[in-house]
């Protein structure tokens, strides 16, 4: 039966409500623990993350997907405490966000290893816990993909087929290679969320992959000119993309999220954006751009409910 794995247990898809599909509580590449310069006051950061999640909830949010994956800030004790303190449905994820976000222990591994690892995390528990992951990340920074990233994508696709979980990608610049691997592994496009479609704009690409059945995620809402990131973009442009996809009749394949981080490990508050602002500022912007309320509901509730739960 379709269900969603949250850090506090399983959920019926109808319980999901407004969902932030790609967010982070703590986020950063592995290794920061070794440098006291990157340490933080847990109480202070917990309070900040609590306020962010609570803000999202008060704006109408109900489910929050943490896409940090293995070793990139996935601290399950924090997730669990935040979930119980806010009442939000918090989902943690398995998978990796690309080679530089993969700790050395995992560098020499192959697709079989990753398949086993992801299946374990989805069906038994993440790391040494019995807390099950809800979705599989697959990412990459380099173009072309590295051998390791390709193996991780392949492992993700196989684990998705085996468990019924969805795959969420984080490397739109390697799209062709990603899709080739997914095709080879016979992963149903309806189980694929292509993240980062607002980091390198190509509306025709988005229409093409959505027509093929994949979900197109504009998942950096709020990352505007204040950011040092190369892919910072005015939200107005994102709203136009959403409208264009809706006008093309592809509203069933749209995901919108902030890709926010409650706390960035090693880079302080530089990259912080707020998940609640998607509902506070971006939804009104969509309305102003002519997006109907039913379509807003579709993007933030119906589509996540269709794609995320384990089938």
């Amino acid at each position: 039966m379709a269900h969603l794995n949250t850090v506090l247990g399983t959920l019926h898809p109808e319980e999901m409500g407004i969902t932030a599909v790609h967010e982070h509580i703590l986020f950063g590449p592995p290794g920061w623990e070794a440098d006291p310069g990157a340490w933080f006051k847990m109480g202070k950061v917990f309070e900040k993350c609590y306020n962010d999640l609570m803000d999202f909830k008060l704006q109408g949010g109900a489910t929050f997907i943490d896409a940090s994956g293995i070793g990139s800030g996935r601290e399950l004790d924090v997730h669990i405490k935040l979930a119980s303190a806010t009442g939000l449905h918090v989902v943690a994820s398995t998978g990796f966000l690309g080679e530089l976000f993969t700790a050395p222990h995992f560098h020499a591994r192959d697709a079989d290893y990753f398949e086993t690892l992801f299946v374990h995390e989805l069906t038994v528990g993440m790391g040494r816990t019995r807390v099950k992951a809800g979705v599989i990340n697959a990412g990459g920074g380099a173009q072309p993909m590295t051998r390791l990233e390709a193996a991780q994508h392949r492992g993700a696709a196989r684990a998705a087929r085996k468990t019924g979980a969805a795959v969420m990608t984080h490397a739109i610049n390697a799209l062709d290679e990603q899709l080739a691997i997914f095709r080879e592994e016979k992963l149903d496009p309806a189980r694929i969320i292509l993240g980062g479609c607002d980091t390198r704009l190509d509306l025709e690409r988005d229409k093409r992959v959505a027509k093929a059945g994949c979900y197109v995620a504009y998942d950096h809402v709020g990352l505007e000119s204040w950011s040092r990131m190369a892919h910072a973009l005015p939200d107005q442009r994102r709203a136009e993309l959403v409208k264009a996809m809706l006008d093309a009749g592809l509203g069933d394949r749209l995901i919108v999220s902030a890709g926010s981080s409650g706390w960035v490990l090693g880079q302080g508050e530089d990259h912080l954006s707020n998940v609640g602002n998607v509902l506070r500022y971006f939804v009104p912007r969509l309305a102003a751009a002519g997006v109907a309320e039913a379509d807003v509901r579709r993007i933030f509730a119906d589509n996540p409910k269709r794609v995320l739960p384990i089938q």
Partner: protein, 333 residues
């Protein structure tokens, strides 16, 4: 004076020292792998037995070369040292590039990418040699970091660095120079892993002002890069040459029969460099996601030293190799 995990020990009390071992060893991130089992009490017992055997064979002290990232657990080492009655000198340092996780490398990669694309701004924080030097230095003065964002009271007693790229990658060079800065500031030994790269990197280390007599060149008995002329040259410059994989005789690319190591030691002694050689087994006591070694740390004293004696290395030379050299390495210069 050596800083052990249970406090300072005068260098003339170190006794017989195994100069390069790994009590716990795993690649960074091993703890995220559900397939890696770490049965702490069982591992403790096994390591305790190995250390007791080393002690019974005459050993007194051990340099643990797992560095900051590769499985080191300061509180575990403290308890083990106390239980075994063996001085454990722990290390800090980052290792070769394949061991350095993304926290250190990602900002460099992002900067390079943005320079190449000419868009965006570099990350707010980018490590450099001085930063890494400061970070490692604090492990000597304030204590070694542990999981959970706290420092152990146990301090590191030497610094290590390594290189696998040719030439050294940006992050490796940073880690090597940072290690040299930290070793100099805190007056502790520095261990450079990898004999093959030593002639190139040794000047980089001394350029930071670290005395040659504080530098150990490890892995000089790696079967892939034996070079007796290099060893003599490094020794003549005042560095210590370590034959530190004694007992790794097969089943690994760096393995070779101990008989060849006996010859290496004999050659160095004959060339007048007995005072520049260190010995150890390079065992992996507990492998966290990597295989443990087949032999234990006591192999050095129970098997290799008798071989050296049999090959004509005299008692006074053996005393120099096992006791005097490590003592001098840790002594005030």
């Amino acid at each position: 004076m050596a800083i052990t995990v249970n406090g300072p020990v005068p260098d003339d009390r170190l006794g017989i020292v195994a100069a390069h071992e790994h009590l716990l060893y795993g690649l960074p991130g091993w703890h995220d792998d559900p397939a890696v089992l770490f049965d702490r009490p069982k591992v403790f017992d096994a390591l305790l037995a190995a250390l007791r055997e080393f002690k019974a064979a005459g050993g007194n002290s051990l340099m643990d070369a797992s560095g900051t990232l590769c499985g080191r657990d300061p509180e575990f080492l403290k308890a083990l040292s106390a239980a075994a009655g063996i001085n454990i000198i722990a290390s800090c340092g980052l290792g070769a590039q394949e061991l350095i996780p993304g926290y250190f490398g990602l900002p460099l990669a992002e900067r390079a990418l943005r320079e190449q694309r000419r868009d965006g701004e570099p990350p707010l924080w980018i490590p450099d040699a001085g930063y890494i030097g400061g970070m490692l230095g604090a492990e000597m003065s304030d204590g070694m970091p542990m999981a959970g964002m706290v420092r152990s009271r146990a301090c590191a007693g030497f610094v290590l660095c390594a290189c696998s790229a040719q030439p050294a990658s940006e992050i490796e060079e940073m880690a090597i120079r940072g290690a040299a800065m930290a070793a100099r500031r805190h007056d502790v030994p520095l261990r450079l892993e990898g004999g093959a790269h030593a002639p190139r990197l040794f000047p980089l280390i001394t350029a930071e002002g670290l005395a040659a007599g504080r530098v150990v060149i490890g892995h000089c008995d790696d079967a892939r890069c034996l070079d007796s002329a290099r060893d003599r040259e490094l020794a003549s410059q005042g560095a210590y040459v370590a034959y530190d994989h004694v007992g790794w005789q097969d089943g690994s690319p760096h393995a070779m029969p101990d008989a060849q190591r006996v010859q290496q030691v004999k050659d160095m002694v004959a060339a007048g460099y007995a005072e520049r050689v260190l010995l150890s087994c390079g065992t992996v006591g507990c492998g966290l996601g990597v295989p443990a070694s087949k032999h234990g740390v006591s192999h050095l004293l129970k098997d290799f030293v008798p071989r050296l004696s049999g090959a004509g290395v005299g008692d006074s030379a053996l005393h120099t190799l096992l006791v005097e050299n490590p003592r001098r390495l840790f002594a005030q210069l």
